[in-house]
Amino acid sequence: MEQDARALAQAVAVDEARRASRWQLRFRLGWGILIALLAGFVLISLNVEIDFIARATPFILEGIWITLIVSAASIVLATLLAAIGALGRLSSNAIINAIASFYVSFFRGTPLILQLLVWYLALPQVGLIFDPIYCAIGALGMNYGAYMTEIFRAGIQAVPLGQREAAAALGMSSRTAFLRIVAPQAFRIIVPAIGNDFVAMLKDSALASTVALQEIVWRARNVGQKEFKTLQTFIIAAMIYWALTIIFSGFQNRIERRLAAGDRNKESKG
């Protein structure tokens, strides 16, 4: 009987593994077909000119640096603003809370592209003139900062009340309790969200092409329009963004997994 049961369990396991691998195979096949269709669309029906693409691609690729610099600087600015904003939203001081919630409401309530154009076109009217790159960083950073304020606030509030009570019962001031007990726990909740927003920022930084910043989209449009070949150049740009987001999503997944495993790793040492 025991042997029969074991044989049955083994047969079930083998069957489960076979079904799983067949699912994987079909999933990959599906992706392969879609990529082939996309590539076929690009290569065959579009009158491809290899020498044009060879000329245009390096020019567009140079925009990666601007895209990365703008995205990185903006996410840093946004993180700082969100940290201040979240503390403001959680403050017991009514005026500080009003300022923080006004910031969040205003910057989430108006279009990002409009905010960007204000930096670039409208502020010079009152004598405030910034380089396009600072316009892009300022607009993206302040806009994302408003969204991230709410994420940070939610992250801080997700730390159970009992943690604050335990800290208070041990005689900690609310400041010590926040810095030593609440913030480190909120950090683990918030960091994956920052990574997520960085990937979103990579794509939204394309809006900076409207203020003549020579990032990927600006380059794709300019080099394409001259020879009436924007379909090709935009597809190149799309592939670059796609590759960037895949790479950074991969990083983000690793950070997330490491944070989730943080305790376990430390424990295995002990």
């Binding site: 009992g162 019962a169 041990l170 005689g171 002990g270």
Partner: protein, 286 residues
């Protein structure tokens, strides 16, 4: 009653006849903890109706009562985790009064922190810090609140971890401990602050029944070695065995105060009688 007179002036602490210091308490001793006429309104809900308690050095007292009677709110008012609407608390010479209109500012907050340093608390849900190891949980407040040297704090913590039987778990994280082990760490964490009195808020209610015993044993040991403790609990056997005095709370008031032999075995108050008779029938079914 005028709300303009401070709580301290309005309330005079009175000993309950059963709150006489025991034979082991020195004649000159002062109570470690005095709570006077603690009242709490949650909106329209009158949760505490002026409850007072006196605890002498070395005493263990248990607070019994059905859920919703206000016993946890009372305990949490003693270290101002719950801000009472009225009343005065004095622990080891530090006095804090209710301040429902929030007239007092930072100075009162500092006094509350001072009070909390004298009263360690153990929670129903343990509330260990998950991002810190066992030893870090214990030394966090001694180092960052009392300004103790880390090495010194660790020595004290190790001594208490040994007492609760968890020396070998020193570097584990709370997520790898059982509920009973977590609660014992929480007790060691409270002890490492070297408080004058320990407050236990239903310390075994969140535990799997098989793990209750290990926590109660640690608590009984602490009681027998002369720690001053206030324990809100449903564990009748523990109260009977370890308590110097039992308080039965009903609807925000202490209905009966006395030694466990009286309150648990032969209660005078009809409400206490009814509560305990339910416990007995439940116990008999087991």
């Amino acid at each position: 009653m005028s709300v303009n007179v401070s709580a301290e002036q309005r309330h005079v602490h009175q000993l309950h006849p059963a709150e006489k210091p025991g034979v082991l308490v020195k004649a000159s001793a002062e109570p470690v903890l005095k709570a006077t006429d603690i009242a709490k309104w949650f909106g329209e809900n009158h949760v505490l109706r002026g409850a007072s308690i006196t605890v002498w050095p070395g005493e263990t007292v248990c607070i019994l009562g059905r859920s919703g009677s206000g016993k946890s709110t009372f305990l949490r008012s003693l270290n101002f985790l719950e801000d009472p609407t009225d009343g005065v608390v004095e622990i080891d010479g530090v006095t804090v009064s209710a301040d429902p209109f929030r007239k007092e500012g930072k100075e009162r907050q500092a006094r509350i922190r001072d009070l909390r340093l004298r009263a360690g608390m153990v929670f129903q849900e343990f509330n260990l810090f998950p991002h810190l190891s066992v030893i870090e949980n214990c030394v966090e407040a001694p180092v960052h609140v009392k300004g103790m040297k880390r090495k010194e704090a660790e020595e004290i913590a190790e001594q208490y971890l040994a007492k609760v039987g968890l020396s070998e778990k020193r570097d584990e994280y709370p997520s790898r401990l059982s509920g009973g082990q977590r609660q014992r760490v929480a007790i060691a964490r409270a002890l490492t602050m070297q408080p004058k009195v320990l407050l236990f808020d239903e310390p075994t209610s969140a535990l799997d029944p098989t793990l209750v015993g290990e926590v109660l044993k640690v608590m009984a040991d602490l009681a027998h070695e002369g720690r001053t403790m206030i324990v809100v609990t449903h564990e009748m056997d523990f109260a009977h065995e370890a308590a110097d005095r039992v308080y039965y709370m009903d609807q925000g008031e202490f209905a009966e105060v006395g030694p466990p032999e009286q309150v648990i075995d032969a209660p005078h108050d009809p409400r206490t009688k009814e509560f305990l008779s339910r416990f007995r029938t439940l116990g008999a079914k087991k």
